[in-house]
């Protein structure tokens, strides 16, 4: 396993991502990862808040159209995340916080698909009050995405730390 991770980390692509002084390498990829987060988690949160009763006069059914944006944002982050992971494979893949983040993302995405099927798949949506089940999914959405963001941020501080130059050794 270690040999494989070292091989990934030393590949031409991973080395370029990590060590190139170009803003198109690590900085641009990290920027894309942040924009994807903003749209993916932000739109999920907006839908969850509406399900929980905020801005109640918004009809729910048309909000399903934001799923396309959410999926685009998800794939931007899956790809940019893979590149960032390759760049620091040996540190990130040995950091338990990274696996907690992956766990939260798996739960959050599965939950997002559940909301798409169970809530938006309901033909009488908007004709009856939001069900308790839908509200529970909305709470889980907020919890899982908050967990994913928290674990993602904490990867920079706990366990083997890699990432942005200048970050290391500055914060205890």
């Amino acid at each position: 396993m270690t040999a494989f991770l070292t091989w990934v980390e030393n590949s031409a692509f991973a080395t370029w991502v990590r060590e190139s002084s170009s803003l198109w390498a690590y900085p641009a990829i990290l920027f894309l990862h942040t924009v994807g987060l903003g749209f993916l988690v932000g739109l999920n949160a907006a839908i969850a808040l509406r399900l929980l009763g905020f801005a109640e006069r918004i009809p729910l059914a048309p909000m399903v159209k934001f799923y396309r944006v959410m999926w685009i944002a998800f794939w931007i982050n899956a790809l940019s995340g893979t590149a960032l992971l390759a760049a620091d494979a040996t540190t990130k893949m040995t950091n338990p916080v990274f696996f907690i983040k992956l766990g939260f993302i798996t739960l959050a995405v599965a939950n997002m698909v559940m909301i798409r099927r169970r809530v938006f798949g309901n033909p009488s949506l908007d004709l009856s009050p939001v069900t308790g089940g839908a509200k529970a999914l909305a709470v889980l959405s907020l919890v899982f995405w908050t967990g994913a963001i928290t674990a993602g941020r904490l990867m920079a501080y706990f366990g083997p730390v890699s990432g942005a130059p200048g970050l290391k050794n500055k914060i205890p």
């Binding site: 803003l23 990290l30 920027f31 903003g38 932000g42 739109l43 009809p59 934001f66 970050l167 914060i171």
Partner: protein
């Protein structure tokens, strides 16, 4: 003057605490800063994408009731951002990316203020399902998306163009 202010700020106990004196404060603020980002971007993207023509079946009036969450997200980020600055002022005041980030936040703020004071807010508020917002509102929506994405860009560039973490 900025130099004097930042030297004073750096000498405070709060600065000491944020910069690692109390080790969990910085990571906590970073986490909150990204949660605030997601809240703000969520509301901004729903409103702006709708104004630009996506999910047109959504009436704008009820949609604008999500604004308090954008304000909440922005406030969280203003507070946590001010704490980062307090923790290590010198790494920001000499950082071009930080200057651009503030500029873009300022422009996004002007965009919001114009949206309200020009009465565009009220005209948009009455746009119902299936209808287009006025062209001026589309321009404001496009500007808003571009500016907030710009804010994220400059924020992300803090460690790379300047030397802040």
């Amino acid at each position: 003057m900025i130099q004097t202010f930042s030297t004073w700020l750096h000498s405070t106990r709060l600065s000491w605490a944020v910069a690692g004196g109390i080790p969990w404060i910085w990571p906590l603020c970073e986490t909150l800063h990204f949660i605030g980002l997601a809240l703000l971007m969520g509301v901004v993207s729903v409103l702006d994408l709708r104004m630009l023509g996506m999910a047109k079946e959504l009436p704008l009036g009820p949609l604008q009731r999500l604004m308090p969450f954008a304000i909440l997200g922005f406030t969280i980020n203003l507070i946590t951002g001010a704490l980062f600055f307090t923790g290590d002022p010198t790494q920001y005041i000499h950082n071009a990316a930080f200057g651009f980030k503030l500029l873009f936040i300022g422009l996004a703020g002007v965009n919001v203020i114009l949206f309200y004071v020009t009465g565009l807010y009220r005209r948009v508020d009455s746009v119902g399902a299936g209808h287009d917002v006025p062209a001026a509102a589309k321009v404001a929506a496009a500007a808003s998306l571009a500016l907030w994405i710009g804010v994220m860009y400059w924020g992300r560039m803090l460690p790379f163009i300047g030397n802040a973490f």
